[in-house]
């Protein structure tokens, strides 16, 4: 045990997952150890210094998205703090929530931009989840580079240029075969697009519902929410095992979480309304009419719920459509031919 204690030293701070586990990187005597912890167990992956070919770091927009979401929530709580009157408790809670959101925003902004870092060896390309900020990557590289160079030796600029120039001709020769190994097929353009348009419509209808109380709007909103739920499931099915970009996958999964949350809130709301109006609880149409007649502005909770629903619908819908357009442009058929190999029948690009 005492020998093991001295074996590893930490390379960077661990990155915690959303709910479960954390990933960390440790330096061993002759290898890099990636640890994935899940509460009661740990998984290890070793990358020997002699085998590491390169580290690819790609800047991502996750940090910006986080900042936008935190900012949006901050503004939402400011609006609620101004609007909510009466008992001092609710405004105080709103202002405390605003301060927390703004503090988180500042912390997130002070940490450097987010990135994805991949380590490549001759036989694998592995993501290193703990290297998720540009500053962390730079620090880690500063520690890692001398260790790798001790084992592999260092490349002089001439050597690198020679190798890369030689590699360039091979690269051109092997481009076709490489492409066939990485077919750029990605699914669900149409389903994703429908989903994001539905989300935007849902945001708009909810905003209208806040202003005008009419049964038609309530019914329309309900149908659009149901449609969003169905579309989300369809989009998730279609993106499964496809080359759908990660950002789009994340947006779709976030939409699922949002839709589930919205359904739960609606169910609770309907249940409470049914309890309060027991005389019409057995008549669905009357219940819907009573619900439509309610104004969200009557209760701070309902106002907050509606504001949350509108902001998230619009945010997810707009972000999804922007990403879809961006990737559609990047993978358009003219720039990326779809390879046709015997026995492999790729689905055509739908977008």
């Amino acid at each position: 045990m005492s020998k093991e204690v001295k074996t590893y030293r930490r390379l960077c701070r661990p990155k915690r997952g959303f709910l479960f586990g954390k990933s960390s990187l440790w330096l061993g005597r002759d290898h890099l150890l990636a640890v994935q912890s899940r509460y009661f167990s740990e998984d290890y992956k070793r990358f020997y210094f002699k085998d590491i070919q390169c580290l690819v770091t790609c800047k991502t927009g996750t940090g910006k998205t986080q900042n936008m979401v935190l900012g949006l929530f901050g503004l939402l709580f400011i609006a609620l703090g101004i609007r909510v009157q009466g008992v001092w408790v609710w405004p105080t809670i709103c202002w405390i929530a605003t301060c927390v959101m703004l503090l988180l925003l500042v912390i997130n902004w002070l940490r450097s931009p987010t990135c994805d870092c991949y380590l490549k060896t001759a036989v694998q390309t592995e993501k290193l989840p703990s290297l998720c900020r540009m500053r962390t990557v730079k620090k880690a590289l500063g520690l890692l580079e001398p260790l790798i160079q001790d084992v592999q030796g260092s490349l002089t600029e001439e050597e690198m240029e020679t190798n890369l120039t030689e590699g360039k001709s091979q690269e051109i020769d092997s481009k076709g075969s490489e492409r066939s190994n990485h077919p750029m097929i990605w699914e669900s353009g149409r389903t994703h697009r429908t989903l994001f348009y539905l989300l935007l419509m849902s945001g708009l209808i909810t905003a209208l519902d806040m202003r005008f109380s009419h049964v038609t709007i309530t019914l329309l909103g309900t149908f659009i929410s149901l449609g969003s739920g169905i579309c989300t499931i369809m989009a998730l099915v279609r993106q499964y095992e496809s080359k759908t970009p990660r950002a789009l996958r994340v947006i779709t999964w976030t939409t699922l979480a949002f839709v589930c949350l919205e359904f739960c809130f609606s169910y609770v709301f309907f249940f409470v309304a049914a309890m309060k109006n027991q005389e019409v609880a057995h008549n669905q149409w009357e219940m819907i009419k009573r619900l439509a007649a309610l104004s969200p502005l009557d209760s701070p909770w309902l106002t907050g719920l509606f504001a949350f629903s509108i902001s998230l619908s619009v945010l997810l819908g707009a972000a999804g459509l922007i990403l879809l357009r961006r990737y559609q442009y990047a993978y358009k058929p003219s720039s990326q031919p779809i390879p046709v190999t015997p026995g492999h029948n790729p689905r055509p690009l739908e977008v």
Binding site: F40, E42, C54, V56, T57, Q152, M160, Y327
Partner: protein, 191 residues
């Protein structure tokens, strides 16, 4: 060849080993590539055991027609170049490697470990929220802490703090339950 991690298209070699980020020509993602000499190294060719002629030295334990080049540092069997497995600067035979992996004697081959200390601590702490389950979980936690005290937990630097905390907490809970039961018994008898 190095590919963009976002669009999986090959990255131009001009982007390699630059301190700043450069855009991927296909998807525009900002990428930094740090390369090392291993990228240009030819893959290692597997060694083949040398065939043994009649008048030459010892033969491999596993391949009788191959010439032994090294003894296994664990069991001492003679090994040919094919059977010689180099791990952590040690030369061992495939069967020692296999037994070392199954018996968890070679740390470098382990890719998963159960954290018994965390389990024991969780068993001592989480039931405290509902109080009543601790009548069962406290002895269980104490038993598991003693049972797995010497079992290696994480291969990362780690102290016995969790085990000690769990034992202390479980001990306190047991003492608490003994006192409550004793009090109830005394009260029943008194009544």
């Amino acid at each position: 060849m190095v590919h963009c991690v976002k669009c999986e298209n090959p990255l131009p070699w001009e982007a390699f080993s630059r301190a700043d980020l450069s855009p991927c020509p296909s998807c525009g993602a900002l990428v930094r590539v740090d390369i090392f000499p291993a990228l240009f190294r030819e893959p290692d060719q597997g060694r083949r055991g040398e065939t043994l002629s009649a008048d030459q030295g010892a033969s491999c334990f596993y391949h009788h027609n191959k010439k032994a080049v090294i003894p296994c540092e664990s069991c001492g069997r003679f090994l040919c170049a094919l059977c010689d497995v180099e791990l952590n600067d040690r030369h061992i035979c495939p069967s020692c490697l296999e037994s070392g992996k199954t018996q968890r004697k070679i740390t470098h081959l382990e890719n998963n470990r159960v954290l018994y200390d965390t389990i024991v601590l969780a068993l001592a702490v989480i039931p405290l929220l509902m109080i009543w389950p601790t009548i069962l979980t406290a002895p269980a936690s104490l038993f598991l802490a003693i049972r797995y005290w010497n079992t290696p937990t994480s291969i990362l630097p780690r102290t016995k703090f969790r085990f000690i905390s769990a034992i202390s907490l479980a001990g306190l809970q047991i003492v608490g339950w003994i006192m409550i039961i004793g009090f109830m018994v005394t009260r029943t008898r008194g009544a």
